[in-house]
Assembly symmetry: C2
Homo-oligomer: 126 residues x 2
Amino acid sequence: MHRSRLAGFIIDCKNADLQSAAEFWSGALGMEARALPGEEGDKYVRLVDPRERLLIEVQSVSHESRVHLDIETDDVEAEVRRLEQLGAKKVQQVNTWWVMEAPTGQRFCVVRAKGPAFASEARTWK
Amino acid sequence: MHRSRLAGFIIDCKNADLQSAAEFWSGALGMEARALPGEEGDKYVRLVDPRERLLIEVQSVSHESRVHLDIETDDVEAEVRRLEQLGAKKVQQVNTWWVMEAPTGQRFCVVRAKGPAFASEARTWK
């Protein structure tokens, strides 16, 4: 038995100056941009959702620009197996998370639970 | 003076069988898939966010699969001008909405306000 939920989405920006990219998306979505500490801050800027609905980040990447979804879980391996049974495919393991590809073509990530609402909102899978 | 907010996101699926695509994403995100009435139902399936955080839909499209964000507003033309000033470009007007491209490369849409939380959550721009 494990749990998962939609954690949020990451705005991947190809070869972007991270601060400029975050400034655009902060203004466009009307959300404050917040620097992250340590190494995480070199690649990601948090956009603060005032209602804490979702975790939203701007990321500088080397691949094409896109928006990708993150699914958070208390058991990454079990969630990856569940998603494989639904038709998704493993693409690559990166640090503690898995990049997967949906049968409809989009890449998404399965990450360790970190959103504030995980405990109250995650679905339980048996 | 007008208002806008992040309405949600659309999961664009290239040449997809809409029901199969919606079934995958419904299962992956743990959200109920709900058919939409009329012509809208030919192209979109709603994924019901139990907390009504965001409007999430699966769409069958002819372009490459991706995830795109929707910004909702009570004044589409004013919001498009605001976003142009931030660096976005108009791509195409479709029915009542505009497709735009961010300076970081992602396409997104500016749509008429329709989310349940618009009145309480939208930012006001002067």
